[in-house]
């Protein structure tokens, strides 16, 4: 995919040799991942599913905070909403579970519009706290709905579970492929968005709202679109998470630590404002979690120390550091101008 924008003497190119190599490697990894359910064990499958949904959540938070400058600490609102919508659609409207996963995202996106109109009145740190408060309101609200199990939550009825697939391994395979699809689609969506005209304006807004405004960018609409898209995909991921868990409760669904704090850790460690950052961040998070799994609370302390050291020593994250040092761009979204005779 070689995007070139012709002018009379110049062409704007974005792909580099590294990025073309990366595309080939990505395709190979994808093929390998598609083959995984046919030879790997159940535990590996579950870990990759979890990896896929954390990666998707991280891509969405990165789009929101890293590109649109909307630092939300309330994304658990949309994970939880997505989860609950899945249960509502599957139990009360007999929607097939996998279809309900995607439909949940659409409903969550609709919920995100009034949410945005509320929290967009706030700026900076107040916006962050505001998003958290909204998530708490959703959590407390769902705890009051007795038909959805109230505070103690509910399980997905066995009949609906059987709708996903007849056997356990079939169900896991279907969830695996859905998770893989969502992760690839999230990366693809962010990549496409950032390479479009909107991507340039998003970066411009992050740099200077006043200057973007006076160049014709409708800041409110752009931010609203990013917020709603990000919420919608986060909702799809939330629905998938609770389809895999088969049980939902307000505390699990609207959990700040699981669905936002961990995701922020991933993005900040990997490299905020880059597509590669969340991928590397998710890898680091899973490696740390695997290594420290047996050490109890030490696990959280180490994660905290890693985060603090990274912020002090390499605030641009692992990928930010590497890409600056070696001029690497695996998913290039920057436009680079080349004179025609320099073009290959």
């Amino acid at each position: 995919m070689n995007t070139q924008m012709k002018t009379e003497q110049f062409s704007v190119v974005r792909n580099t040799t590294t990025s073309r190599g990366a595309a080939v490697v990505t395709a190979m990894i994808l093929i390998a991942l598609i083959s995984v359910p046919f030879w790997a064990g159940r535990a590996d499958l579950r870990m990759i599913i979890e990896f896929a949904y954390y990666l998707s959540l991280a891509q969405m938070w990165n789009l929101l905070a890293g590109y649109a400058g909307l630092v939300s600490i309330g994304q658990q609102a949309f994970v939880g909403l997505g989860g609950y919508m899945l249960f509502v659609l599957a139990i009360y409207f007999n929607v097939p579970p996998i279809m309900a996963v995607f439909l949940s995202g659409l409903i969550v996106a609709l919920f995100a519009i009034p949410t945005a109109l509320t929290v967009f009145r706030l700026r900076g740190a107040y916006f962050a706290i505001g998003t958290w408060v909204v998530a708490e309101v959703y959590r407390l609200g769902f705890a009051q709905v007795t038909t959805l199990g109230g505070g103690s939550g509910q399980s997905l009825p066995a009949s609906i579970v059987r709708e996903i697939g007849s056997g356990r391994s079939e169900r896991e395979m279907i969830i695996y492929f859905t998770a893989l699809f969502i992760a690839v689609a999230s990366i693809g969506l962010v990549y496409w968005l950032l390479r479009s005209k909107h991507g340039l304006s998003l970066t411009a807004i992050r740099d200077s709202e006043a200057a973007s405004d006076s160049l014709g960018v409708d800041i409110f609409k752009t931010k609203l679109a990013v917020y709603v898209i990000s919420a919608g995909i986060t909702g799809v991921v939330g629905a998938l998470i609770f389809l895999q868990k088969l049980r939902i409760s307000p505390d699990a669904a609207f959990n700040l630590q699981d669905w936002t704090a961990a995701v922020i850790f991933i993005v900040v460690i990997g490299g905020i404002g880059t597509i590669e950052g969340p991928i590397i961040g998710t890898l680091i998070y899973f490696i740390l979690r695997g290594v420290l799994a047996d050490y109890g609370s030490v696990y959280m302390i180490v994660l905290g120390v890693v985060a603090v050291v990274m912020m002090l020593k390499a605030p641009q994250g692992v990928w930010g550091f590497l890409s600056k040092k070696y001029d690497l761009h695996l998913f290039p979204v920057h436009r680079r101008l080349k004179a025609k005779d320099e073009l290959e």
Binding site: D207, A210, S214, L215
Partner: protein, 232 residues
């Protein structure tokens, strides 16, 4: 008919009023300079025209249309571009991308990347550099180029010589005839009185949010300007 007509424009920030009933007119293809000391309300005036500060609809008329209450992103679509004070380049974007952002409004006209590079050849060399890695003068060229990329009929330049060496300022103003040739109406805010006189057809002097002087550069005396500038 005048290109831009400002009628009884008042503006401020919260309780602080910066402009007190400004009246000003700009004819097509004219270059007008606004001079005045710090705090005279010049930048507030430019921000009001650009839509960054809201006003009553009829306070700003552009080509006979009331645009005083339009937001900045709609004002630029009408054909008014602002080179903001302090340049406000996008640090994450390259010179090239900064210029491309100028074309966001997709207005048709004579300006494109090649013409900007003809106007400021140094930007062609630095096109892949981050905008903020350039010298102050070069950054100002990017800011002007970015505004021109929207093909404006009215170009607002707010303090483009601020913080730059006199020779650099001269280099930047050298580009003005090419901009004026295309029929672009230009409104500059300038603290450097000599520069303002040299580049403009008419000047306005602001003092404490009011117009204290209006005239043609050849017709106003130094004493008039001193009185209007300092209120002496």
């Amino acid at each position: 008919m005048s290109k831009l007509k400002i009628q009884n424009l008042t503006a401020g920030y919260g309780d602080f009023q910066a402009l007190f009933g400004i009246d000003l007119e700009l004819n097509a293809k004219e270059t007008v300079a606004i001079i005045g000391s710090n705090g005279a309300g010049k930048s507030t005036f430019m921000r009001s025209i650009a839509g960054l500060l809201k006003n009553t609809p009829d306070a700003v008329q552009f080509k006979g249309e009331n645009i005083g209450d339009l937001p900045a992103n709609k004002v630029v679509e009408k054909g008014i571009a602002l080179v903001p004070e302090g340049r406000r380049l996008f640090p994450s974007l390259s010179v090239e991308e900064n210029l491309l952002m100028g074309a966001y409004s997709k207005r048709k006209g004579p300006w494109n990347l090649n013409r900007i590079y003809e106007l400021f050849p140094i930007l062609k060399e630095k096109r892949n550099n981050p905008g903020t890695a350039l010298s102050g003068g070069q950054q100002q060229m990017v800011a002007i180029g970015r505004a021109l990329m929207s093909n404006p009929e009215l170009l607002l330049c707010d303090e483009i010589s601020l913080g730059l060496a006199p020779t650099t300022v001269k280099d930047i103003y050298k580009a003005f005839p090419a901009i004026q040739e295309d029929g672009t109406t230009v409104l500059v805010v300038e603290q450097d009185i000599n520069q303002a006189m040299a580049v403009s057809d008419r000047i306005y002097c602001f003092q404490e949010g009011r117009v204290s002087l209006e005239g043609k550069p050849g017709e106003v005396s130094k004493d008039d300007i001193k009185a209007a500038y300092f209120g002496m």
